[in-house]
């Protein structure tokens, strides 16, 4: 896990001579991406691609997005310097990109608004979505309510039980939640059932995929809707400190918040970029979701990418304390950025993430999502490495962390983890099951 900045920069510079990394249009990112999908869905993917391509060049669509971002989501999100937290990161200056302050509490809103608008442009009246803990389900239900679309959310049966409050939230917003009982009954199976629904209802239904994965055009399209994160962050850091950061950190589930912030800095060779995967109990325990770190290339859910799989190519179940990172696949653009050495991907264990979670609460008065806590834990390591380098003093080094979401949903999990609950309390029971209030 030793940092190799020079190799990093050489690869990036070499690539830059060939052109920009920022707007890779798909379908392929190197040998990754593509459309590993049933023929029945190809026409819908073509329609989506065409609609998206037209929309993104249409000033009216861009104005609609800009208006919703500003007046509904509350963008631009702040860039907050975390001065007391910085002391624990080798003394470098740490800045937080505050996606936690968006409406619904995470970056997810950027993507759902964009895709729901596209659904309307295609004349579709119904959206379907998959969700693990419920974050993307809640965001989808929100966008559907706002734009008057029917919304059906697929969620693993076990997750429904553990996340009863998020199920209620989606239902309050008018969505129907369908518990998924097939396969391992987790997020990947929710995606499978959503795809089965889509094949049967594609005439009136858009599949609102929640991360920068899946078949073309999803990875490039989801990135597009999240690019605003990186663009804002770049402008904000230039305005606040007058220069680019030394490093940018984000957590990786499917990779949407990460690709959104990375986008702003991919073409700046001086900026080192880090993606932090869920290391669960530890990468040598088999119980983790460190897809790029330990997976092998394969095809799942429409794209070729790194994948957690056994020797037979069967998908392996992932494990993470963070439901949003608990996915055995990863977006294809990340696989590519890893292979060419532009972005470094490293695992963060549950314990490391929870320590960073507590630290941010106590030093900054911000309760982060456990997903985002993986990025915070990574930033601590990156900050310490930067501080140990002999160029300049720690105080002159700058790290930006994408704080992808707020941790209100994670309070019961955290309380259980830190043993804050009375053993007999109802919350304690819930916390044991991983409920996120």
């Amino acid at each position: 896990m030793v940092d190799a900045p020079s190799a990093d920069n050489n690869a990036a510079e070499a690539f830059l001579q060939g052109g920009s990394l920022r707007h890779a249009p798909g379908p392929y990112f190197g040998s990754y991406g593509g459309r590993w999908m049933p023929e029945s869905l190809i026409a819908a993917l073509d329609e989506l691609e065409e609609t998206f391509n037209k929309a993104k060049d249409d000033p009216e669509f861009r104005a609609q997005i800009a208006d919703l971002n500003k007046n509904y989501s509350g963008r631009p999100s702040l860039l907050t310097e975390a001065k007391r937290f910085s002391e624990h990161a080798g003394g470098v200056r740490v800045f937080l990109k505050r996606e936690d302050l968006n409406h619904t509490g995470s970056h997810k809103i950027n993507n759902v608004l964009g895709q729901a608008l596209l659904a309307k442009r295609m004349g579709k009246t119904r959206v379907i979505a998959e969700t693990g803990a419920g974050q993307h389900g809640v965001a989808s239900a929100t966008a559907a309510a706002l734009l008057g679309l029917e919304c059906v959310v697929y969620m693993g049966a076990e997750d429904c039980r553990r996340q009863a409050l998020n199920v209620a939230r989606m239902e309050l917003l008018g969505a129907t939640v369908i518990p998924v009982t097939s396969g391992s009954q987790t997020l990947k199976d929710a995606i499978n059932d959503a795809l089965r629904d889509w094949v049967a209802n594609v005439h009136n239904t858009h599949y609102l995929l929640g991360t920068a994965a899946g078949a073309h055009p999803f990875p490039a399209m989801v990135r597009y809707f999240h690019e605003v994160i990186g663009e804002e962050a770049r402008a904000q850091i230039l305005e606040q400190v007058g220069r680019l950061p030394d490093a940018v950190c984000a957590c990786i589930g499917g990779g949407s918040n990460a690709i959104g912030i990375f986008h702003g800095f991919l073409d700046d060779p001086s900026v080192r970029i880090y993606g932090f995967e869920a290391g669960g109990d530890g990468v040598d325990t088999g119980r983790h979701a460190a897809t790029i770190t330990l997976g092998k290339p394969g095809v799942l859910h429409g794209a070729r990418s790194y994948l957690m799989q056994d020797d037979d190519g069967q998908t392996i179940e992932s494990h993470s304390i963070s439901a949003g990172l608990d996915y055995p696949g990863v977006g294809p653009e990340h696989s590519y950025l890893s292979d060419i050495g532009r972005v470094s991907y490293e695992p963060i264990t549950d314990s490391e993430a929870m320590e960073a979670f507590r630290l941010l609460c106590r030093t900054e008065g911000i309760i982060p999502a456990i997903e985002s806590s993986h990025a915070l834990a990574g930033a601590i390591k990156v900050g310490q490495r930067l501080a140990a380098e002999d160029t300049g003093t720690a105080k002159d080094k700058i790290v930006i962390v994408n704080l992808s979401g707020r941790g209100d949903k994670d309070v019961a999990t955290a309380a259980e983890w830190f043993d804050l609950l009375d053993k007999d309390s109802a919350e304690s029971e819930i916390g044991k099951e991983g409920e996120q209030l």
Partner: protein, 270 residues
């Protein structure tokens, strides 16, 4: 390539034998390793001896997005019982050594990628397999498979759907060898009470694009439906109904259902 392909296609030969008898071909789908490897071989042999011209052996996979609940349940059970992908070659060899049926393997793509497309193809050919049906591989992504299937003389059966545009239909028909798999409806596998009218249009479009052999699958479960499809397609594919029967009544029940389904293959019996 086309003429050489036709000479070596086991699936085409099996369909043509049926055609020479004035009827459509019957294709029976069964999952490998369900309920056990031995019984899946026995079920395949029983189907082939009771009217199935081609046998389609499915590889149980963790994420079968094109399958409905019956087949999902069967393949999940096979995996839970420890099924390994390489056992599919035992199943194929077990059936081809006992019958004249052409035996294809139906597989989601990742298990093939994992083994290596060339290695998988070589072993399938060695086992006497006819080729592959690939529900989540479209010709656009199939460069490696096109090469391996030519090298080992295997059929490549791609799917066409009611949603396929004329351009995609042409491309898929051109890329296929053996036959073209026409998906009868927009949906996943599972028995349905009636065959959608879309099926006939898909078959007509495939024929218009030059396909000589088009077989219809998804939702076919009884002899009446077989008869309806046999009137316009070269083959009829039955899956869910056979899998359910195998689970409920074992190998003998598969033999009986196949025999019954095969009564629908000849138009004169209508």
């Amino acid at each position: 390539m086309a003429s050489k392909a036709q000479m070596t296609s086991k699936s085409a030969a099996a369909i043509d034998r049926a055609r020479a008898q004035g009827r459509a071909a019957l294709i029976a789908y069964l999952p490998a390793g369900y309920p056990s490897v031995e019984e899946s071989i026995a079920a395949g042999i029983a189907a082939a001896r009771n009217g199935a011209d081609l046998i389609e052996i499915g590889i149980p996979y963790s994420d079968p997005v094109m399958d409905g609940q019956v087949i999902q349940a069967a393949t999940t059970e096979a995996l839970a019982n420890g099924f390994r992908v390489s056992q599919v070659f035992d199943v194929v060899a077990g059936i081809t050594s006992q019958t004249d049926a052409a035996v294809l393997v139906m597989t989601y793509w990742n298990p093939v990628v994992r083994m290596g497309v060339d290695e998988f193809s070589r072993r399938l050919a060695e086992a006497g397999g006819a080729g592959l049906i690939t529900p989540d591989l479209i010709p656009d992504e199939a460069a490696e498979w096109m090469e391996a299937s030519d090298k080992y003389g295997l059929d490549r059966v791609f799917l066409v759907a009611p949603s396929s545009t004329a351009e995609r239909m042409q491309r898929t028909v051109d890329a296929s060898r053996g036959f073209v798999y026409a998906v009868s409806i927009m949906g996943v596998t599972g028995a349905r009470s009636s065959v959608s009218t879309a099926a006939k249009d898909v078959v007509a479009a495939a024929h218009a694009a030059g396909a000589e052999r088009v077989c219809v699958g998804l939702g076919v479960s009884n002899a009446d439906q077989v008869r309806e499809i046999a009137a316009y397609a070269e083959g009829v594919i039955v899956g869910t109904a056979l899998v359910k029967t195998l689970g409920d009544g074992g190998v003998d029940a598969v033999a009986a259902l196949t025999k019954d389904l095969s009564t629908g293959l000849s138009p004169e019996e209508a």
